[in-house]
Subunit: 223 residues, 2 copies
């Protein structure tokens, strides 16, 4: 693990982003929570530091967080996806941006409805430009599991621009205590984003809150 990397979780005051920030800070990463206002980010960072018993997390505005970090993680409701990405575009140049966003369209969140670009990740790539490596991951992980120490019975499928960037994000998956798989090019992100709608539907149908997915038939070591 590269312990010198700094991660910014843009939209890190939401449940999913805050949970990921918690796990990475626990694993020794320097983590910055970003939010639209620095005050909200500082408040979320203070919560996490209390949980962690250490001053491990900092809170800044989204732009400042993005500028200061090596890898950016975007975890925002889909309605804020475009505007958030535009607001950090300059700060993101040359970096890896991990897009956690699921393009749910309420009220029909159990029906797959992809944006024009094909997926949220492709939309992000188009907004941020070719000098950024957008990698998509973590869309199928329920935030409810992130603050517990129990094993998360769900794999993380990592898709995105460039194999090196995907491998870097696979390190973050492992650091967060999950099992990840390199699942190919950014066009494959629509499957992983869309799968969230199927999991929400199945949760409702089968009376659960924790549907997840595991890949079978593969061994982690083999590459």
């Amino acid at each position: 693990m590269n312990i010198l990397l700094t991660l910014a979780v843009i939209g890190g005051t939401g449940k999913e982003g805050k949970g990921l920030a918690y796990r990475w800070a626990s694993a020794g990463y320097r983590v910055i929570i970003g939010s639209r206002t620095a005050e909200k980010a500082e408040s979320a960072a203070a919560d996490l530091n209390e949980m962690l018993g250490a001053e491990a997390v900092e809170g800044l505005s989204n732009f400042d967080a993005a500028e200061k970090a090596d890898i950016l993680v975007v975890s925002v409701p889909y309605s804020a996806h475009k505007s958030t990405l535009e607001s950090i575009r300059e700060a993101a140049q040359g970096k890896i941006v991990v897009d956690v966003t699921v393009p749910l369209v309420p009220p029909k969140v159990t029906k797959v409805q992809m944006p024009e670009a094909g997926s949220a990740a492709q939309e992000a790539q188009s907004i941020l430009g070719e000098n950024v490596s957008v990698v998509s991951a973590f869309q199928n992980i329920s935030h409810e599991h992130l603050f517990s120490d129990r094993t998360i019975d769900c794999d993380v499928l990592v898709t995105g621009k460039g194999k090196d960037a995907r491998l870097e994000v696979l390190k973050l998956v492992k650091a967060a205590g999950m099992r990840g798989w390199d699942a190919g090019v950014i066009e494959n992100s629509m499957v992983v984003e869309g799968l969230t709608s199927l999991l929400i539907y199945m949760n409702k149908q089968y009376g659960s809150k924790s549907a997840g997915v595991r890949i079978t038939g593969l061994k982690q070591g083999k590459k």
Copy 2:
């Protein structure tokens, strides 16, 4: 299980279709193999009857097979998808059509590339019309497993038009010895079809031939 149902496997001379036909015939269903020519269908049926040690499978032209059966299963290469559906359209009216087709676009089969309609299943629905219930299933099952008696370590996600039709297809999944899940509306099929490209990619990356997917966190009984 409704033992009086007759299943037609359109394109049943291919590996996937033939494997499914084998499993259903083993489970006691009346199965008809359909092919572009009756001769090829008869030959595949004869193979299966020899394996089964019984005269359980019949071979007919695609149209005759479709006309004689209660439920149609379409398992053809994507290049033959549209023309095959058009050729059975009249015979399919009022029936359930299970679409197994994966819209792979060679040579880039590890990259998700959905058709204009959104997915192969939606394309099928559009060709067959509103009087047919298109249900999509089995796209992630490797044909190599179908002729063995070993447990298939891969779930079947069932999406499609109408909950009753999906439940009917879930019975076929169970009869074929697999675990199935109702995964919602036909628009969700793109995820399941596309997942096949991710599994092919992961097989290559991780040195396997049998990547599959399992749903976690749900119980079958609860509905």
